[in-house]
């Protein structure tokens, strides 16, 4: 009985792994999927975990040392956090062109890390009270 159950469990796990692999492969063939994969490649392990769990990731601005949070969206998704990690001010800026969401988020992160003054100069501000973006499992 135990042997049968063990074999059944192994087979079930094997099928699930194959199904996951196919789903990911199919997703990575789309622009959105490819952009999310690129984003995850450029996140730190901690940021990847945070993104997968919460649908956002935090990082430090390269010039000011301010703490930022980027949500999984293509606009009005960048927030400046205060010292208690409360959302303080929204920043709306994005790269030119029709880019999939993962590319937009990665460009926003790299810009604030490496050319923060330029990003802040073009960003429009908004009140981040209406945030309700919490898409699950983006980070896989």
């Amino acid at each position: 009985m135990v042997v049968w159950a063990s074999a059944w469990l192994r087979e079930r796990l094997r099928k699930r792994a194959i199904r996951t692999l196919f789903c990911r492969h199919k997703a990575y063939r789309t622009p959105q999927g490819r952009s999310i994969r690129l984003l995850c490649e450029w996140l730190s392990p901690e940021q990847r975990t945070q993104f997968a769990r919460h649908g956002y990731f935090d990082f430090v601005g390269g010039e000011t040392g301010s703490l930022y949070r980027i949500y999984a969206a293509a606009s009005m998704n960048v927030v400046l956090l205060d010292q208690r990690k409360k959302e303080n001010r929204g920043l709306c800026f994005l790269p030119m062109g029709e880019l999939p969401v993962g590319d937009v988020m990665l460009a926003q992160k790299l810009a604030l890390e490496n050319c923060e003054p330029e990003a802040l100069a073009v960003a429009r501000h908004f009140m981040p009270r209406a945030f309700s973006l919490r898409p699950p499992n983006f980070g896989g």
Partner: protein, 73 residues
């Protein structure tokens, strides 16, 4: 092999090149100048996992990512 990744509507376009091949290296440098001249920002990943902006072509960079000019939303 090194790679230059350019963000575009398909997600990204990847251009691999052999840094030890003078012809391929020259082509990579030409691409770098062309993209940064068109307003793209180049970023490279450091060994520690952080990123830094590449203001000039670095023939030793294994992975360079180009993202378009930023605009206010």
């Amino acid at each position: 092999m090194a790679v230059q990744i350019v963000m575009d509507h398909t997600g990204d376009s990847r251009h691999t090149f052999d840094p030890n091949d003078a012809k391929q290296l020259a082509e990579a440098e030409r691409r770098f100048r062309e993209l940064t001249g068109a307003g793209f920002t180049a970023a490279v990943r450091t060994a520690g996992g952080d990123s830094s902006q590449a203001r000039s072509f670095d023939p030793t960079a294994e992975e360079t990512l180009f993202f378009p000019r930023l605009v206010g939303g």
